[in-house]
Symmetry: C2
Subunit: 244 residues, 2 copies
């Protein structure tokens, strides 16, 4: 299985000011490409923390995506940290400057904005159709913006170049049942289908206990079979099927 | 500064099925206790991944909180993984069984539910006022449920025992300005106040570019001073102040 990690960079995500949306987005997109997002880390705007996490992740995943810290302000330190992690110089990238010039007048293209054209040497730019300031990729690391709309546009531009396995799909079924009543049957179901990843997610709504059973894998027919068995299990427990 | 990490355990968060809410919750709660949440990791329901991440985090943070994987089903493997990480046996905890008995009849307390009373030896239980199945803490690690309502109730029960520094507070100001126009002034502001953490967060609404400036620290009067300077900076740029 081809695996990927995401490194989210930003004090605001850890402080609770900003709710991350990029991990869930990439998890879904990568699954459709047959790439499993198996790890995520969130670190502060701290050079040492970024370097350490990036070096750990890029050595054990086929792909690493970073989000955040590539803007014009003092707390945007991702490009410099990535250069350090790869031990390459950070330098002004002529093509990145050209893209910024397409958006900003000469007067507006001040030193702060030009900082967004400082890119680790050897990196290729990632297009930013929203605000021009590019991301970049270097080896197996893709450096993208933190603003979800921009990250999503950047990912659209790079996903064609990623190589995964068969797309991972899922099926789910929500049952009116207490999880502890379902557990034994679900364990047996998982044991009968070791190639399918079966998850059990309890929730509580209006005083009722619900469980959503999720099956994931590359073989849609096999998932449908698992869901049929889950329906039979629900029937044997007199558990109503609420959706799926 | 006292630091903490959170380890979120669950395939569903990485697949994008479930949007994590526990990181932001703990970030805010810990800041109020003078503890900085400086790192978060999300791993799959995979014993090796949990053990490795937990051992890395517990050695470098004053506190580590985990969320997820303590229910009755086959994919709930957190307690066993924590026991492995600490190299202690996992055994049936009599007090945990007693708490489960307070909720479930003898008939309902099946093997799957009793699994929730298997706790690493030496751990102390964390009360679960919602559904009784306890969390636990061992050394500096606090193991809690993934369901936000239960995690929040568990955290309420343990936070009195945590030791932090002065509470961290924040002030923010949203300006109608492009981030690149604000950047130089903001860098100067940060340089004048090295003890305050100043963040700059752009957003785009109805075609307008906004920046929220956030100042964090332990000294509220100093933060108010920073915000006053940020207002002066906004005025010098003809940038309207939208709130704060």
């Amino acid at each position: 299985m081809t695996t990927a990690a995401i490194l989210v960079i930003g004090n605001e995500v850890l402080s609770g000011r900003t709710q991350d949306a990029n991990i869930a987005f990439l998890g879904k997109e990568l699954a459709a490409l047959g790439i499993a997002l198996t790890e995520a880390r969130i670190v502060r705007d701290d050079t040492d923390a970024i370097v350490e996490a990036l070096n750990a992740l890029r050595r054990r995943h086929a792909y690493v995506f970073t989000s955040g810290g590539i803007g014009p302000t003092h707390d945007d330190i991702t490009a410099a940290a990535v250069a350090l992690a790869f031990k390459v110089p950070l330098s002004r990238n002529a093509e990145a400057v050209r893209r910024l010039r397409s958006r900003y007048s000469a007067d507006d293209l001040n030193a702060a904005r030009l900082k967004m054209a400082d890119i680790p040497e050897g990196a290729e730019l990632i297009e930013n159709p929203v605000s021009q300031a590019p991301g970049f990729h270097l080896d197996n690391v893709f450096v993208m913006a933190g603003v979800p709309r921009i990250l999503q546009a950047m990912f659209d531009g790079v996903k064609g170049g990623l190589t995964g396995g068969p797309p991972q799909v899922s099926r789910s079924l929500t049952l009116l049942v207490r999880e502890g009543d379902l557990a034994d049957g679900l364990t047996a179901l998982q044991n009968r289908h070791p190639q399918v990843e079966i998850g059990s997610y309890p929730s509580f709504t209006e005083g009722r206990s619900l469980v959503t059973v999720v099956a994931r894998g590359a073989d849609a027919a096999m998932l449908d079979g698992v869901m049929a068995e889950a329906r039979t299990l629900a029937h044997s427990l007199n558990a109503a099927v609420l959706d799926g």
